[in-house]
Assembly symmetry: C2
Homo-oligomer: 335 residues x 2
Amino acid sequence: MSPTMHDVARLAGVSIKTVSNVVNDYPHIRESTRERVRAAIAELDYVPNKAARNLRSGRSGAISLVMPDLRNPYFAELADDVMRAAAEHGLTVLIEQLTGEREQELQTLHGLRQRAADGVIYSVLNLDLEDADQIDVPVPLVLLGDRIFHGPADHVTIQNAEGAKAATEHLLERGRRRLLALGAHEGEVLGSAGLRLHGYREALEAAGVPFDPDLVTHVGRWHRVDGAEAMREVVARGVTFDGVVAFNDSLALGAMRVLLDAGLRVPEDVAIIGFDDVDETRYSQPTLSTIDPGRAEIARRAVEVLVERMNGLASPPREIAAPFSVVARESTATG
Amino acid sequence: MSPTMHDVARLAGVSIKTVSNVVNDYPHIRESTRERVRAAIAELDYVPNKAARNLRSGRSGAISLVMPDLRNPYFAELADDVMRAAAEHGLTVLIEQLTGEREQELQTLHGLRQRAADGVIYSVLNLDLEDADQIDVPVPLVLLGDRIFHGPADHVTIQNAEGAKAATEHLLERGRRRLLALGAHEGEVLGSAGLRLHGYREALEAAGVPFDPDLVTHVGRWHRVDGAEAMREVVARGVTFDGVVAFNDSLALGAMRVLLDAGLRVPEDVAIIGFDDVDETRYSQPTLSTIDPGRAEIARRAVEVLVERMNGLASPPREIAAPFSVVARESTATG
DNA sequence: AGCTGCGTTTACAACGTTGTAGGTAAACGT
DNA sequence: ACGTTTACCTACAACGTTGTAAACGCAGCT
């Protein structure tokens, strides 16, 4: 059995509360006492019991990070960023994956109610408004990702529309006019897909390039296979285009593979730009231009805001937009 | 404040212990009582307090997964596998990353002593023997990855040497004779790099192909950049080879990029095989042959073994080797 | 000498749950 | 009819910590 505060107290010849005070850096302790207790702690190799501390203080020192899929490099990198940011506040991160199955999803959300975490960072992929009400957790909540109008909680958002617009402009500036929008979701308006499509259309409009519905390709998910499949279908259909605005990097990488297979050159015949700036875009062949959505900054701010709420800050929900930037690489280089 | 068992008990008109019994599916409860309690739980929306339960029972329902780096797709996928396996046992997973800094590493290991988790799965990348003693946690421990001779704990191992040998044989069978070993670590014997190099040499020897030290390339880490850099250096040196045994997929993908840039065709001029079977190998251009180290199986067994230990099983440490297989794709296809 | 205030330490009671031991009533065996 | 088992339920204590309130000794002041 591990030693407890009682053991330390007995060895140091003080009360158990004094040990507690030393452990928690209570200021008014005589230096000699503090040292005696420290010595006893070291001798017994005492470590405070988390469960007891949690029970008594009502805090667990952990936050939940709810996200769709760790296999998706974007989310894996985001998880890493969040964990690093959390560590700076002395917090542990519990990662919860949403597999997309309704049943499992509700169970996860219910699990959040078990007070296992002091706060929740919820990275939504496709959250429609009715679901937003479902997120009724008894702890502070920060949303991450797509913008929701008048969300019920703090929200650190990716600038989806603005980023996609910048991506599209990037191609337009390089003289491309027939731009494929890769990764739309049928009928979606508020999710990443809807917003990025919106940014794409805005850029076209601003440049006076007519919008062609034939150039919008719909996909199921945003994995590499989906990008590859969609591109295969487009090529088979005989649609002509000289640029691709992919709604994320995986789609872009999958599509690029198919383009190259089909004998098209990137960027000479088709320029292509992704979205997310995952690590891999730096190593693909050719390297992939993309939008850096400010992922590390997003994680940092999200944890910051969450910690503020956990410390009792009461103010109207804030919406924080992370800065994004265009990363130009080979896939959109000019001859 | 959340409702407690007391509130439920009062509402249902039973003792608090009876509520506890209902919650924990104790068999001897009258059906009518059980239903009354259930109704009260539903009405109050009662959820058991984890911290209290942990304190009383001494179990947290969580296990720690210690691993080097979530940005590395192999480990991200492994983490996902472990989380899924753990979920089947009703366990939560706390992911701890080792950044490679000595200071942080020791702090992490010390953190494990805080009894936050009921067990630890430790995925070692480069664990030398003196470090092995450091892992002195008060909970069951399962090691994952490289084989350590006479390790102090259960160990689910990747068949490093055997896998690398199979990879090498795969190339030899296709008539390749000048095989580059990509990813060795200077002087290492027991880690993944050492074992995979050993497997490579065994295969050569078995086939009667002389070993050429010039064909062994050393790298720092196993990221894509390292593979690219090493390959650039090899090409610049003018070494000739017709096959590459990369010690992991990232190295292979980085190296392949450089080969293609240098005007070499894969697999016609150079066949290349990786190790790990990360998702990406299915989408690279060309698709990458690799060794599937049985990652999902590793995760499943590791959790299984850990749960057994957590349930008090006392027996000598076991060593379990996961089955591996060669996955043949385009990068080693025969003309 | 007595009062006040400060720094330091302590006793005690919680936090919400579960294990133990025991108690009551009905069912059973003789 | 009487002990004995069985099914069901309960009281109480404990897990290891921290918040509260109070006590202690000692200085400085009247």
